[in-house]
Symmetry: C2
């Protein structure tokens, strides 16, 4: 492995920038090549078949940049298409969002009552629940899981309404069943959700531990990656997207927590297959 | 023109089914070929360039079915890419959502204070405002227009939350400036919004006339089309989509107002252009 090669990371759109933000802070020496499929976002409301097709195309795009590691910064892809990415990646390690978050949830949960929130596709896949139960079995723990899809959280975060009353009302609606279930740990199973941490914590109460799946995965990456010896400046990074809509810059910078430079658009060509 | 050929109609996703619902009731003898680009939905938050590319691909797909008329049941495409559709359609008439709605708004508005709500791309394009001003000039009327993008309305409608308190709160947030401006007419410039008619009317007050752009366009189509002589049963229609996600059937039927049968998936192949 060439330590100078980059960490490849992709997401359905800009949510994965919350993971890049964690990587910047944990691994400032690493070069990042990011791809956000902003022309086809979101993935979380689409079918498993379509998400698997998109995931394979996204992976192929990253592979053109010869990454030493691939981070699937999209919970939906991690839930329904991690095997697709792994097969294409060959010997290149692939890190998804689910396994690290589940390990952390099991570590911090005292009662074993664990909640999961995510997109419709992620929750329907039951990927988190299956991984949690498998991990729990391995460590001889007894757990109970409770999951709920929160489709409005993504547009709320993108609209920048996280401080508004409406965000609290939406959070109460989605989180009610998880509160009722008295979970002591809640996995934020979508890279957009960290933006809503404050309101989710307020609704769930201070006793509930929130697991930021992206931040936890970033910690895991620290173990995997062959760290670069040189400090990398931001201009070494590469941000690729399939569309640059009007609000891209402002939303992207809010998610990344800093200026987003040198974004390049890649276009895919479509042909109908009848 | 072959009167037996079908009316082609497309949208970024399932919102256009609210227009089909109107067509079914106004033109029960017509055969509909619908295409919803559910694999790439939504269009309203994407760039003009990307929407124009998608619109041309959608039109080409419909043209394979030899329609006698093409209905652009997507306000975003109508706002930023109607010329793309028209050029590809050649001599086949193309009906967008904007012109009919603007004529109707001018007809019903007494004060000339007209509001427009739509997706981010539609509102940013100012297509409604320009069309309204042009029409007003032609008829010697003086009008003032007020526009606002309402990105959360689409996910609210798809979530089926139109009766919940949160819908009212979101509507108050988006419609506040239009209320303040004392518009007497409000154009619902997105095919999803008719689902939210009740809450929008409640927030704006009973004195404000709401213009359902899809329903108005359907009335316009009645003038254009060479009506079929035979009554067409639902099984003659064809519903094409580029993705069939988990909730497609239930959301689609809520928008269409009846059972949605014989949905066929079409796949497009993508290849990155570097």
């Amino acid at each position: 492995v060439n330590t100078d090669s980059s960490i490849g990371i992709f997401d359905s759109g800009i949510g994965g920038l919350t993971v890049v933000k964690e990587l910047f802070s944990l691994l400032p020496g690493e070069r990042i090549v990011y791809f956000g499929d902003t022309a086809r976002v979101p993935y979380g409301s689409k079918s498993v078949e379509t998400v698997r097709r998109y995931a394979s195309e996204d992976t192929e795009l990253l592979l053109l940049h010869h990454p030493k590691l691939i981070v699937v910064a999209c919970n939906t892809v991690s839930a329904v298409a991690l095997d697709v990415v792994q097969e294409l990646a060959g010997s290149i390690p692939v890190i998804g969002m689910i396994e690290p978050a589940c390990k952390e949830a099991l570590r911090v949960s005292a009662s074993g009552r664990i909640g999961i929130i995510g997109t419709d596709a992620t929750i329907a896949s039951k990927a988190y629940e299956i991984e949690l139960q498998n991990e729990a079995e391995r460590s001889g723990k007894k757990i109970e899981t409770f999951a709920n899809a929160c489709p409005l959280f993504v547009p709320l975060a993108e609209e920048g309404w996280e401080e508004k009353v409406v965000a609290e009302l939406v959070a109460r609606e989605y989180l009610f069943s998880l509160e009722e279930a008295q979970v002591d740990t809640l996995i934020l199973g979508c890279t957009h959700y960290p933006v809503l941490t404050k309101v989710i914590q307020a609704v769930m109460g201070p006793q509930v531990k929130l697991i930021n799946s992206g931040a936890i995965a970033a910690r895991e990456i620290k173990n995997y990656s062959v760290l670069s010896t040189q400090y990398s400046s931001l201009d070494k990074h590469l941000f690729l997207v399939s569309d640059i809509p009007r609000k891209f810059q402002s939303i992207g910078e809010r998610f990344l927590g800093q200026t987003l430079q040198q974004t390049k658009q890649v276009i895919y060509e479509d042909a109908w297959v009848m």
